[in-house]
Amino acid sequence: MWQLTPGQSLVARQWDEDLVVYNALSGATHRLGLGAAVLLGVLEDGPASEATLAVALQTEFSLDDGEVDAELPAMLDRLSRLELIQPCSCSTA
């Protein structure tokens, strides 16, 4: 299960195929792809499992299972290293 880092607030702008994001908690600015934006968007509504996140990506980008499985762990790892998301031991209500 994954969640947005607690206490976080993000401001984002998009002009073309990328997103720029300001993380008010860490004071850092990041450039993210739209895939990351979709993941953050899902997590904004509450913690979600990897399966849920995979489905969201598949839906938004018309991907097949293989493509998502190959990319998703790396995306989650990167967002986690940027302290935008973190694993949580919670369950959705």
Binding site: V11, W15, E17, V20, A24, T29, R31
Partner: protein, 305 residues
């Protein structure tokens, strides 16, 4: 309004010795104290058209440029700088006192003036089209900026682009353009009417000279401008002049790299910069011939107006 030109040299030196010389440059007033002749000479040459405020007025920054004392007075004399008692730089040879004044005035602004997003860039404007020229050292930004300033473009700044946080407008900080080495000769040839401070050798950048801003730019220092272009210049000997688009996202990220106080401004910095990028086109610009470069910029001004 008292202009620096109207002070006799003796009066200028007297005020400088006593810390009573308060120079207005754009939105800032700087109180300068110095016992060094080269500082007075440089100021008389470069800042003649700028206004000087009464000694007891409010100054934003206090800059002291004094001869080092002790044995240094006689052997390779030095100038030491302190900003009101704080001494962030090591002393330099006395001959570099006027360039040092310019560098420390930049330092004062970029370290304190947090009602602006401050970008390391030149800003020029013509016919309502303002162009921001960010560039790391060695990109030829200042030479290009000087050339534009001598061909009808208003100079807002050579080193520091001030983007006012409250409304995103560019605020002029009209100060001289600093040029190095061969660029000084190039500019003298390109615009014989240009006036320079005495070039100073032996600095870490080589020979440094400052170009006096045109009277029109100084007179319009209170007039803000709206940015229309962010152009990243690069001088490349013998290259064809080219202007290639840069995406807004790339422009945004590259401006962060050139912004002094982006981290300090936090979320507001992000929003001001995003607003700026919203309203601008971005481009990479390569040039080797100044006249061709000016033509391209004149074209941008025509296109916008």
């Amino acid at each position: 309004m008292l202009l620096l030109d109207s002070l006799t040299r003796a009066e200028l030196r007297r005020r400088l010795r006593r810390g009573e010389l308060v120079l207005r440059t754009g939105p800032f007033a700087t109180r300068i104290r110095s016992d060094i002749a080269a500082v007075a000479d440089g100021m008389a040459c470069i800042y003649g058209a700028h206004s000087v405020e009464p000694p007891d007025s409010f100054a934003d920054f206090q800059v002291n440029l004094l001869r080092s004392t002790g044995w240094r007075r006689w052997f390779r004399p030095q100038v030491r700088f302190d900003h009101d008692g704080d001494a962030p730089f090591t002393p330099l040879p006395l001959a570099q006192a006027f360039p040092m004044l310019e560098w420390v005035m930049n330092w004062c602004v970029s370290n304190h003036a947090h009602s602006y997003l401050i970008v390391h860039a030149a800003v020029v404007e013509k016919q309502g089209c303002a162009v921001i020229l960010p560039a790391p050292p060695g990109s030829g930004k200042s030479t290009l900026c000087a050339a534009l300033a001598m061909r009808g473009w208003r100079l807002l700044s050579d080193e520091l682009a001030l983007v006012r946080c409250s409304d995103g407008l560019l605020i002029p900080l009209v100060r001289p353009v600093s040029l190095k080495n061969a660029s000084i000769d190039v500019m003298r040839a390109f615009a014989p009417e240009s006036r320079f401070s005495t070039p100073v050798g032996g600095t870490i950048k080589g020979i440094v000279g400052h170009l006096r801003p045109m009277e029109d730019s100084v007179a319009r220092a209170h007039e803000p401008a709206r940015a229309a272009w962010v152009v990243f210049p690069r001088f490349e000997a013998g290259a064809a002049t080219s202007l290639a688009p840069v995406s807004k996202t790339d422009t945004f990220m590259r401006l962060i790299d050139n912004a002094f106080n982006y981290p300090t401004l936090g979320q507001q910095g992000f929003e001001v910069l995003a607003g700026l990028v919203d309203g601008c086109e971005g481009a990479d610009f390569v040039y080797s011939r100044l006249d061709e470069a000016i033509a391209v910029f004149d074209g941008l001004a025509e296109g916008t107006s």
